[in-house]
């Protein structure tokens, strides 16, 4: 047949985000399980509320170091023995900090789940923090800091948050700490920090996967249920980080020899609890319409029309309380000034109006991609853990998707205007000699130049 006739679209099938089976163990550990037939690799997440902002100022990064050392030796196993148990057990393990929680991720084929959960208990309850491993973790983090500073996108992020948040805020400094603060952390500090901050009370474990023939709640009870932490003090509630009084300015990070300029532009945004003037769904659609695809407002001009960039992305990024609207990407050095001018114009336009077609395309993309985005055990576990971290109910994902249907151009405009003011924190990382005068001449804010 001829291809001149475009086929019609059939209706999408019904779908909702799976609701977990919930229970609570005597220790105060909450258990959420998702039975997902056909997902042979079970994904486990443990969420322990722990605010990075509550680290001692002189030991910033201690929470990240602690998270990385949990599996480097336990009461009963040397570091290499424990690594062998994980590896021969078919287990993939990761641990790290968000701004408000310690998160352990574990993947394992279902038949090995019981052993994996017991190893999880050991690393949460009985980490040994051997002196040699502590020194190694500090050296690794120090090296990582140098690596990150050398990458333009990461360097831009560091400069952005340093300029955007008030200097008194923890959020203005790297979550993983600096060379100085990480270098000050001792084994005794880690042992004390772990004893006080990590325990089952208030923590949650999510188990997602094909649980056919497995009583996952009972299995968790027999393993993680034995996790005790007598000195544990549950984390205090989170609060918003305050923006710097002089956040609306331009920071240039001079990186001579760069063939591209990395741009980062941002301002305040909401967290996912937002209800007025619109719920979170409006901000997801705004992210998509402004900078979420090759046809979004930014790339339609900077990539598809001008060919200045491989791609620039914008997104509202929620924190536990409050958030940011952050845009980033790189352009070739020669067009830095023109690209920044165009980008700021497009971002300024975020407050001034949307077409029905834009609203529809964004809402449909987010709503209709949901079944695929949450189709694996890993993705379901990650989403449920994310709801736990942000203190959102289990039905948030589904109700938020339902809210997409009610969005209009006016709602998007109001939602954007509630946070965006036309002021921006701007960071440009690149070969400043090539374009600094032009950036100044844009008249978009005071310019400070710092070394890479």
């Amino acid at each position: 047949m001829s291809l001149s006739t475009r086929p019609a679209i059939g209706p999408p099938g019904p779908w909702t985000f799976p609701v977990p089976l919930a229970s609570e163990l005597p220790s105060g550990l909450r258990v959420l399980t998702h039975h997902l037939p056909g997902q042979y690799v079970v994904s486990v997440r443990v969420v322990v509320p722990l605010l990075v902002a509550s680290e001692p100022r002189e030991l910033e990064g201690i929470a990240t170091l602690m998270s990385r050392l949990l599996d480097e030796g336990t009461l009963h196993h040397t570091p290499i023995e424990f690594a062998g148990l994980l590896e021969r057990g078919g287990i993939g393990l990761g641990a790290g900090m968000t701004e408000s929680a310690l998160v352990i991720e574990l993947d394992v084929p279902q038949r090995r789940l019981a052993q994996a959960l017991d190893l999880l208990r050991q690393l949460l309850a009985e980490p040994a923090f051997p002196e040699a491993e502590v020194r190694r973790a500090v050296a690794t983090r120090t090296s990582e800091i140098e690596q990150q500073r050398a990458h333009a996108s990461h360097r831009a992020g560091l400069a952005f948050f340093e300029a955007f948040f008030d200097p008194a805020e923890r959020a203005s400094r790297p979550a993983g700490g600096t060379t100085e603060t990480v270098g000050a952390v001792t084994r005794a500090d880690l042992v004390a920090f772990h004893a006080e901050r990590v325990g089952p009370l208030g923590a949650t474990v999510v188990v997602a996967g094909d649980l056919t023939g497995v009583d996952a709640t009972a299995l968790v009870g027999d393993t993680l249920g034995r996790w005790t932490a007598p000195s544990h003090v549950p984390a205090p509630g989170p609060r918003a980080a305050v923006r710097a009084a002089d956040a609306a300015r331009i920071v240039v990070v001079d990186r001579p020899g760069s063939v591209q300029s990395e741009l980062a532009v941002g301002w305040s945004g909401p967290d996912r609890h937002v209800t007025e003037p619109a719920g979170w769904a409006a901000y997801q659609v705004l992210s998509f319409v402004i900078g979420g695809s090759p046809n979004a407002r930014i790339d339609a001009v900077l990539r598809e029309e001008k060919g200045y960039t491989y791609g620039i992305r914008s997104a509202f990024r929620p924190r536990r309380v409050g958030g940011t609207f952050y845009t980033s990407g790189s352009v070739r050095s020669e067009v830095t000034v023109e690209a920044l001018r165009l980008l700021l114009d497009i971002l300024d336009g975020a407050r001034s109006g949307y077409t029905v077609e834009e609203v529809r395309s964004g809402a449909d993309f987010i709503g209709l991609t949901a079944p695929g985005r949450y189709a694996t055990a890993d993705a379901v576990a990650a989403e449920t853990a994310g709801l736990v971290i942000d203190g959102l109910p289990s039905d948030f994902t589904t109700s938020n998707l339902a809210a997409l249907g009610g969005l209009t151009p006016q709602v998007l405009r109001d939602a954007a205007s509630a946070y965006l003011t036309g002021e921006w924190t701007v960071v440009v990382v690149g070969d400043a000699a090539a374009w600094l005068d032009g950036v100044r001449a844009l008249g978009r804010g005071d310019v400070t130049v710092v070394p890479a």
């Binding site: 047949m1 291809l3 475009r6 086929p7 679209i9 059939g10 999408p12 099938g13 779908w15 037939p37 056909g38 997902q39 690799v41 290499i80 062998g84 590896e87 021969r88 057990g89 078919g90 287990i91 993947d107 084929p109 038949r111 090995r112 020194r135 190694r136 050296a139 690794t140 090296s143 140098e146 690596q147 050398a150 333009a152 020899g257 760069s258 063939v259 591209q260 695809s293 090759p294 046809n295 339609a300 990539r303 598809e304 001008k306 060919g307 200045y308 491989y310 790189s330 352009v331 070739r332 529809r360 449909d364 993309f365 209709l368 991609t369 079944p371 695929g372 189709a375 694996t376 890993d378």
Partner: protein
């Protein structure tokens, strides 16, 4: 564990190979096409062309406007993209099942009738975009050109894997509209393509839909050149040093391996993991955990079909350590492993990790469809999704020892060292 993903293979009269794998667990369908052309097919002076061409596939075709492929599919809830690699180019979208026909129609239009819409303006624009991709991924980051150097060091100049898929700026500049036409006519046709549909669709319905949109595409009757003969391992070390502004010294040690799919390739990939890939690997245990002369070691094998696969070990050298000494000790561990072979615990660990990785890669429809297209186009084996775990389990300790002795001795390495310019000058 036995796997039983359904696999139904059909071949259209025009040569299109179609694989359907129904899975109603999510109301979605993945449409995944692998075209038998990659950077290994590029002519001298036209490196990077297969990838530049892939970009043009999003700029309109006979019945589709420029950029509309993305916008029309995203508006229906599709997640989509395309990638180019040494051996192939792939195009894919996952979308609600009610939009499957739209996806097939859009794919058929560009895979059959791209040239109606290609313009100099689109070519120039996407050339600029690809050059920014190269700058962003390769030219601007520290160590960004490492893989380009690795391939050049590991393979002779005339070998298809000598140059990286991204190509060179000069060659991208030289690409013309005539090249676009010739490339499309030579490589893009149903008889050089595999189409996999995975998801909430019945076999008969899928076959009928593919017939409806792809059935009229004309075959190109390409006579593909057979893959080159298996390259032997390097007989003596090759070394490339780059003095640059980098945060620490980094070593890349690369090796030729047997082609994929062979038991020898799987055995060699196990050897690579045991020596330097596992968290309990020999190099990691000695250099990272014990000596602390390195901050990090990574290793993996890339399976390829045209005369060689590739193993890559990368090591971040700790400050104050002599990179030559670190490299020598990596070599000692390679040679020791080749002499000793793996322990039972190492075999248990490598198999357990490979099993989880394989099962994880099949967890989503989109990755499963991609794997099916891969093994169908490059290995002629659509059912490999179900049999691969058995093949992994059949790799013996002796196979791993034999592979290490043949392919992974220290003398077989090509080293690309990125060293700190100031430290080297001191």
């Amino acid at each position: 564990m036995p796997l039983d993903y359904p696999i139904h293979e059909r071949r259209l009269d025009n040569g299109l190979r179609l694989v359907v794998s129904p899975d109603p667990s999510v109301p979605n369908v993945t449409v995944n096409l692998w075209v038998g052309v990659g950077s290994r097919h590029e002519e001298p002076g036209r490196t990077g062309f297969a990838h530049l061409f892939e970009h043009l596939m999003f700029q309109g075709s006979r019945n589709v406007a420029s950029g509309e492929h993305f916008s029309a599919l995203m508006a229906q809830g599709a997640r989509l993209n395309a990638t180019t690699w040494f051996d192939r180019t792939n195009y894919f979208e996952t979308l609600p099942r009610g939009a499957m026909d739209l996806a097939l129609w859009l794919e058929a239009d560009r895979h059959g009738h791209l040239l109606d819409a290609v313009t100099q303006e689109n070519l120039d624009n996407q050339r600029d975009v690809v050059k920014e991709e190269k700058r962003q991924r390769y030219d601007n980051p520290p160590y960004g050109t490492a893989l380009i150097e690795v391939y050049a060091a590991l393979f002779p100049e005339e070998h298809p894997y000598h140059h990286a898929t991204i190509g060179s700026m000069e060659d991208l500049d030289a690409a013309s509209l005539e090249d676009v036409h010739a490339f499309f006519q030579r490589y893009y046709g149903p008889d050089n393509t595999v189409l996999t549909l995975c998801g909430d669709v019945e076999v008969d319905e899928a076959v009928a839909a593919v017939e409806r949109y792809f059935g009229d595409l004309a075959p190109i009757d390409r006579m593909p050149r057979p893959p080159g003969p298996q390259l032997p391992p390097l007989s003596e070390p090759v070394r490339v040093e780059r003095l640059e502004t980098v945060p620490n010294d980094r070593l890349h040690l690369a090796f030729r391996l047997p082609v994929d799919p062979t038991q020898e390739y799987l055995a060699s990939s196990f050897a690579v993991d045991i020596v330097a890939g596992l968290s309990t690997s020999r190099v990691g245990t000695r250099l990272v955990r014990t000596e602390q002369s390195a901050h990090r070691v990574d290793a993996h094998a890339m399976g390829l079909v045209d005369g060689s696969s590739i193993a890559l070990i990368s090591v971040d050298v700790a400050p104050g350590e002599n990179p030559a000494g670190v490299e020598e000790r990596v070599g000692e561990e390679l040679d020791r492993f080749a002499d000793e072979g793996p322990t039972p615990e190492e075999m248990e660990a490598v198999l357990a990790q490979a099993e989880r990785a394989w099962l994880s890669s099949l967890a989503s429809q989109e990755e499963r469809a991609d794997t099916i297209s891969h093994t169908t186009l490059l290995h002629g084996d659509p059912g490999a999704v179900n049999t691969h775990l058995d093949r992994l389990a059949r790799v013996s300790a002796d196979d791993v020892t034999e592979a290490a002795r043949t392919w992974l001795r220290s003398t077989n390495r090509a080293t690309v060292a990125f060293l700190q310019a100031e430290a080297a000058a001191a």
